[in-house]
Subunit: 120 residues, 2 copies
């Protein structure tokens, strides 16, 4: 089984975290057959953590996880915190596979998304 984990920052404002859950549902509806499920995990201020979600995945037949850092730029969370959490999980489950995608802000499409938002 292959799962998608959307790794987000998390906020002290709970409605902000709820936004992510709504997004996950939309992604889930459109993700297609390449994945067997998608979950969001938070680095700070909200749960579940990346660690908790990975434990959950690997304790329930998931063999491969694709991590999408849901961050707009490659700051300390993308460069240090997310890789550290992933390494911790791989140390514990060396037979599992975790792939990390580029953070969402690295996509070429983001400039187009901004232009579209501004010209509405």
């Amino acid at each position: 089984m292959k799962k998608l984990l959307i790794a987000a920052h998390g906020s002290r404002i709970s409605s902000s975290n709820d936004e992510l859950q709504v997004l996950v549902e939309k992604v889930s509806d459109n993700l297609g057959v390449a994945f067997d499920g998608v979950e969001v995990a938070f680095l700070e201020f909200a749960s579940p953590s990346i660690e908790i979600v990975l434990v959950d995945f690997f304790n329930s037949q998931t063999t491969e996880v694709v991590v999408l850092p849901y961050f707009l730029s490659a700051g300390a969370h993308v460069m240090n915190d997310i890789p550290r959490e992933i390494q911790k999980a791989l140390d514990q489950w060396p037979d599992k596979k975790i792939t990390v995608l580029p953070h969402i802000g690295a996509l070429d499409t983001m400039a187009g998304v901004i232009v579209e938002a501004c010209n509405r």
Copy 2:
């Protein structure tokens, strides 16, 4: 004159802030005739600040600014910090116009951007 201000978080990692400058150039190339220019401003860890960019705009013939909060969810920066900076500027220049767009993560297109990133 109407300008676009992309309001980003800012990072202690300078290459992360450089990413935003590259993005601004791409946006600038594609923004079309509705705007007379685009700048990025940072809330933390990087310059220029929102205040500095707005002062710069309003001291040089800009009458209207559209602010795009370049944040994925409506946390404290989007809900409190950016509105506070804008209010400060409007108190100083009551004859200028500032419009704030929804934060980038609120766009319906974001789920599609994620799905595309995962299925490459």
